[in-house]
């Protein structure tokens, strides 16, 4: 391991395997610094298991959501492929077959999600259509040469994947250094397809059962916007000349709008393409499905509190539109919850949780007793029970089991009634409680929804619903209640069905009421002179106010009151539930710090108030005054905040030295000489260059001995 060498150079030392420390497993991190009485191992296992379940569920959701799009794409491939196969000699077909079939796939601006979509797309294509799927990224293809290299490299690889007995030959090709031209590509395609054609029948069945006879080569341009015009144009022009030799299909992944095709390609090039448009599900709908399947269900014991959910949704709506990031945020919440909350060990399926309660340690019992929601519960009990709860672990465990069951039932009811209320609120104009169910969910989670203004206006609007609408909504509600898992809603369903029946009986009676109103209208038309007209109008108004409500209106009131009572009894905020801390993750701040970090603010805090991070008592200082105990860079930073755009270095140095020597040299007169101490000077220069490194200032050429401030604010 000597580094002696005649010339300068870099030396690489690979770490020897013996010295390598045995890396601690993730589980160890989980229990780091904590005693095991808090079940950290079990928590970790629970967390892992839960996340596995959630993850497979999200994958399932994504698969379902993409299915429609992928089916359309495959049928497009099949169609363009069949045209290539038949090779009709007809004039028209010859014209058309000279165009490259192209699918413009509009995926939306959430670029981070695209990778997953493309990955599953190429898997689907490889499973059902063709082994020859190539994905290209703009940054890999700065020139046409790189593009073709990438293209052929991926194609040759997938030929190894499909028929492993060809491996030898493929190695030969790659050793020979592939000539990257379309001609060699078409030669390769010919050889590959011919080989599969001349195979023995038994082999043929295995390979062609999944793929089509002469499978098309699908080239996916993942990020169309980032490709340079030249590369795309050249590629299209070149491949259009070989389109008769092998079936080629292009897929353009577009994030913005399909207009980009016209912007990137001139007419002479786009005329070589036969473009069809495909649009993926909008990311908002995607998110709605994810929330519906992951959060608004009792399937998973883990829940997000209102604030946490709001943080995640805000990041989605305000910043990135990325469902993947949302799920990542959700994952972080899961991990954080199981990591920080010792009682999260009970955050599992009800039966399992009940079992676990029995084996809780004394420490954990104390943890339960210190939960705010549990303390509230204790206070509401009679005094003997209070004492028992606080002193006897076994009694506590018993009660905890029933409380957990209550919590479970609460959730079952909550989601059903929430969906029911959502049916009502979406039929209202201007959606006072939000259009999406997630908005309604947030409103109910945070506080008692019936105390809010929005709920008041919702109820008022509900009282004005037309009959047809009301009946339709009620029918939907009945469906929701019937399909819900909770059995305690049989009464509710009965009640709703009774309402529906009464609405039907009403029909005859409403006709009569209409007659009355019509007659009064006729009377109104008779009056011609102004005085009388006014008088009758006033009378009508009076009568309307005092008029007894029609039967329909009475019934409508009843229905709305009934719904109101449902909301009040079942949609109580989660925070009010005893033991909610076990399943709800509610430290929104941690999540925000991790997911929506503010580097500039953190930097400013660190420099302006070093105590915040260093936690050194001597650094505690009043706002506005500059302590000389702070690190030099903090002093320099604070001083520079008081300057304008250009900072005079000499003044700055003087101010710095004044601050630094303020306490050290208690006698300012002895330092009165203009000469600044050399050490202080050096410290100043170091601090200033650190600030420059951090990007707060830069040297300026406008004035000598001045630096320019790069941030604004201050004076």
């Amino acid at each position: 391991m000597s580094t002696s060498s005649v010339s300068k150079g870099c030396f690489v030392f690979k770490p020897s395997s013996k010295k390598r420390r045995i890396s601690s497993s993730t589980a160890d991190y989980f229990s780091e610094g904590k005693n095991d009485s808090e079940d950290s191992g079990l928590r970790f296992a629970t967390c892992q298991l839960l996340w596995k379940q959630i993850n497979s569920e999200t994958e399932k959701i994504q698969e379902e959501l993409n299915k429609q799009l992928f089916d359309n794409l495959i049928s497009f491939l099949r169609q363009s492929y069949s045209e290539f196969q038949t090779k009709k000699t007809e004039w028209m077909c010859r014209m058309k077959s000279s165009e490259i079939p192209t699918a413009a796939l509009v995926l939306g601006v959430n670029v981070t999600d695209h990778d997953v979509t493309f990955k599953s797309l190429s898997e689907v294509l490889q499973d059902n259509v063709t082994p020859y799927v190539v994905s290209l990224q703009a940054k890999e293809c700065p020139g046409i040469k790189h593009l073709l290299q990438k293209l052929m490299g991926q194609l040759m690889d997938c030929c190894v994947d499909v028929d492993s007995f060809e491996e030898e030959e493929c190695v030969n090709i790659s050793q020979k250094k592939i000539r990257c031209s379309m001609a060699s590509l078409s030669k390769w395609y010919e050889s590959v397809t011919k080989k599969t054609g001349s195979e023995t029948p038994s082999k043929k069945i295995t390979s062609s059962s999944r793929h089509w006879q002469s499978p098309p080569i699908v080239v996916i341009f993942k990020d169309m916007e980032s490709f340079t015009t030249k590369v795309l144009q050249d590629f299209i022009v070149i491949s259009s000349q070989h389109i008769h030799e092998f079936p080629l299909v292009l897929i353009f992944g577009i994030a913005t709008s399909p207009m980009i095709i016209h912007r990137l390609l001139p007419h002479s090039v786009s005329s070589l393409l036969c473009i069809e448009l495909f649009q993926s599900l909008s990311c908002k709908e995607h998110l709605a499905t994810v929330i519906d399947k992951l959060l608004l269900t009792t399937q998973f014991p883990f829940k997000l509190s209102e604030k946490v959910l709001q943080v995640l949704i805000n990041i989605f709506l305000y910043h990135d539109f990325s469902v993947q990031n949302f799920i990542k945020g959700f994952q972080l919440s899961v991990v954080e919850h199981f990591y920080s909350q010792p009682l999260s060990v009970l955050c599992c399926q009800l039966l399992e949780a009940k079992k676990r309660v029995n084996s809780l340690s004394h420490n954990q019992c104390e943890n339960i007793r210190s939960l705010p929601s549990f303390r509230r519960y204790v206070e509401s009990q009679v005094s003997e029970k209070q004492i028992a709860l606080l002193t006897e672990d076994s009694f506590l465990k018993e009660v905890t089991q029933t409380l957990l069951e209550d919590l479970h039932i609460y959730h079952e009811n909550y989601f059903t009634v929430l969906r029911c209320l959502h049916v009502f609120t979406t039929s209202l104009p201007k959606y006072p409680l939000g259009k999406q169910i997630r908005e309604l969910h947030c409103a109910c989670l945070g506080k008692s929804v019936w105390e809010t203004e929005e709920y008041g206006s919702t109820v008022q609007l509900l009282r004005m619903l037309a009959k047809d609408e009301l009946v339709a909504i009620l029918q939907k509600c009945v469906e929701i209640f019937i399909s819900s898992s909770g059995k305690q809603f049989s009464n509710t369903v009965e009640k709703l069905e009774e309402f529906l029946a009464r609405f039907q009986n009403l029909e005859a009676e409403t006709n009569e009421v209409q007659d009355v109103s019509v007659s009064s209208q006729k009377e109104l038309q008779k009056k011609t002179d102004l005085y009388h007209l006014q008088k009758t109008l006033l009378e009508l108004k009076e009568s309307k106010r005092s008029k007894k409500l029609t039967k329909f209106e009475m019934l409508r009131f009843e229905v709305v009151d009934f719904i109101d009572s449902l909301v009040r009894s079942y949609l109580a905020p989660a925070e009010m539930q005893t033991l909610n801390e076990v399943v709800y993750f509610n430290t929104a701040n941690t999540l925000r710090e991790h997911l929506n970090a503010a580097p500039r603010i953190a930097l400013h805090t660190a420099l302006n108030n070093p105590y915040c991070y260093l936690k050194n008592q001597t650094l505690k200082s009043d706002v506005g005054c500059i302590s000389n105990t702070a690190p030099d860079i903090c002093i320099v930073y604070k001083l520079h905040l008081e300057c304008g755009r250009l900072i005079n270095l000499v003044d700055w140095l003087e101010a710095f030295s004044t601050v630094v020597t303020a306490v050290e040299g208690t006698d300012p007169d002895s330092m009165a000489t203009d000469q600044v101490d050399e050490i202080i000077h050096a410290r100043f220069i170091r601090a200033v260059s650190e600030l420059e490194l951090l990007g707060f200032i830069k040297p300026s050429k406008q004035k000598t001995d001045h630096v320019a401030r790069l941030t604004w604010g201050g004076c």
Binding site: M95, T256, M259, S271, I275, Y318, A598
Partner: protein
């Protein structure tokens, strides 16, 4: 009596040739006279230019194939490096004679190698006694290759001392090719457009192919005969117009057009590519884009007037400088620094925006979406500059979704 006369070739071949190249007789006959007899030396290089689809490639291919002249036909777009181009020429030369089918790959890196290998190949192929033609299609690409390629090909006859003629096909004039170091001038030949009306024969053929069945419909139904052109035209006119607005612009694809025709439906329900111009963006991305647009099209000194609540008195005459007025949108977007973008963003968003990492990454993703472009170097860390590349219509649509009256904030529309 054929138009073409040449002692070398039989009359039947010439007649056949004539039938193959309508409207290009004069060009073909001059080419024939230039080529001369098989063993004659011809011009070292011929430069043929004309617009898109004026028949350059087709005429050359037909001419060389019908007369069975030894030739090599290479597309310069396809062979994007000089190495590929030279190797392609040599490979094609190898396969000229049918008995020589071994098709081995000849590595050829430089023009010097090419000249040597070319001479060898001519001898092995026994082609010394006739002119070999090398046709370089899309010769514009040669200008982007090594500087010696074009002059080399122009002098190939002299350098190889063989009977060879290089033919360049190009859409642009020779003057744009001429290297400033000087070279052997080729013989230039112009292919005019087929007619004044038709600019692009390929497109005409494309549209005709797509609409021919529709055109024939009255004849098939027996309502008109083939000669009744007026009537047939009337039938097809509106249909063609629709095709010109959609298929011609590649708004909808030809197969989609066909499907519409089969269903006899209106193309109205099928939206073209441009109909999907709407882009959905996250809330802050919308404001970032609006801020970028304002920064790109407003002079920086007017920011005070637009974004400060109490901007004090700004003299109107001073503010509205004549030459700046209305010209900003004509001049296009101007670059602006990151800080100005953020400052405008903070003042146009109603609630407080924290400068989080997400905001900065949103700016970067707007750049990757090509809605903003980074001006200058990519690696410039302090004070990067951007330009906003979206159109006024686009930004107005975006602004409408967040209830922001962007026109009020644009200097040009004051």
């Amino acid at each position: 009596m054929p138009n073409f006369e040449h002692p070398e070739y039989p009359e039947a071949t010439l007649l056949h040739l004539e039938s193959m190249v309508p409207c290009r007789e004069s060009q073909v006959s001059s080419l024939l006279s230039i080529f001369g007899e098989r063993q004659h030396f011809s011009f070292p290089s011929i430069f043929i230019y004309g617009h898109t689809s004026s028949g350059k490639t087709y005429v050359m291919q037909t001419l060389l194939e019908t007369l069975e002249l030894p030739h090599v036909f290479v597309n310069c777009v396809e062979c994007f490096t000089s190495r590929l181009l030279l190797e392609e020429i040599l490979t094609q030369l190898q396969s000229l004679s049918s008995e020589n089918k071994h098709d081995s790959h000849v590595p050829c890196d430089t023009f010097n190698d090419f000249v040597r290998l070319f001479k060898q190949e001519i001898i092995t192929q026994d082609l010394q006694n006739q002119t070999v033609y090398i046709v370089l299609d899309k010769a514009e690409q040669l200008r982007e290759m090594e500087a010696n390629m074009l002059p080399g090909f122009l002098r190939l006859q002299e350098m190889t001392d063989r009977n060879v003629t290089v033919i360049f096909l190009s859409e642009i004039v020779w003057e744009l090719f001429r290297p400033n170091t000087g070279c052997l001038e080729p013989f230039t030949l112009y292919f005019p457009d087929y007619s004044i009306v038709c600019r692009d024969l390929k497109e005409l053929r494309h549209l005709a192919a797509l609409n021919f069945t529709k055109y024939c419909e009255p004849v098939v139904r027996g309502e008109a005969n083939e000669r009744d052109t007026r009537r047939l035209w009337k039938n097809i006119e509106s249909h063609l117009k629709k095709a010109m607005q959609t298929v011609y612009l590649r708004e909808i694809s030809s197969s989609q057009w066909e499907r519409i025709q089969q269903d006899d439906g209106e193309p109205g329900h099928l939206k073209g590519l441009s109909a999907h111009a709407h882009v959905e963006l996250p809330y802050y991305s919308k404001f970032l884009l609006i801020a970028a647009y304002l920064a790109s099209y407003n002079p920086a000194r007017t920011d005070k007037r637009f974004f400060l609540k109490h901007h004090g008195k700004i003299k109107k005459t001073n503010f509205l400088k004549k030459h700046e007025k209305t010209s900003n949108h004509l001049l296009g977007p101007k670059p602006f620094p990151l800080d100005r973008l953020l400052a405008i963003l903070y003042s146009i968003v109603d609630n407080k925006v924290a400068p989080t990492a997400n905001i900065f990454s949103q700016i970067t993703s707007l750049v990757t979406l090509q809605l903003l472009t980074l001006v200058g170097h990519d690696d410039q860390l302090d004070g990067p500059k951007y330009k906003c590349t979206v159109s006024l219509d686009f930004i107005r649509a975006i602004a409408r979704t967040v209830n922001f009256d962007i026109i009020k904030y644009l200097y040009d529309f004051l």
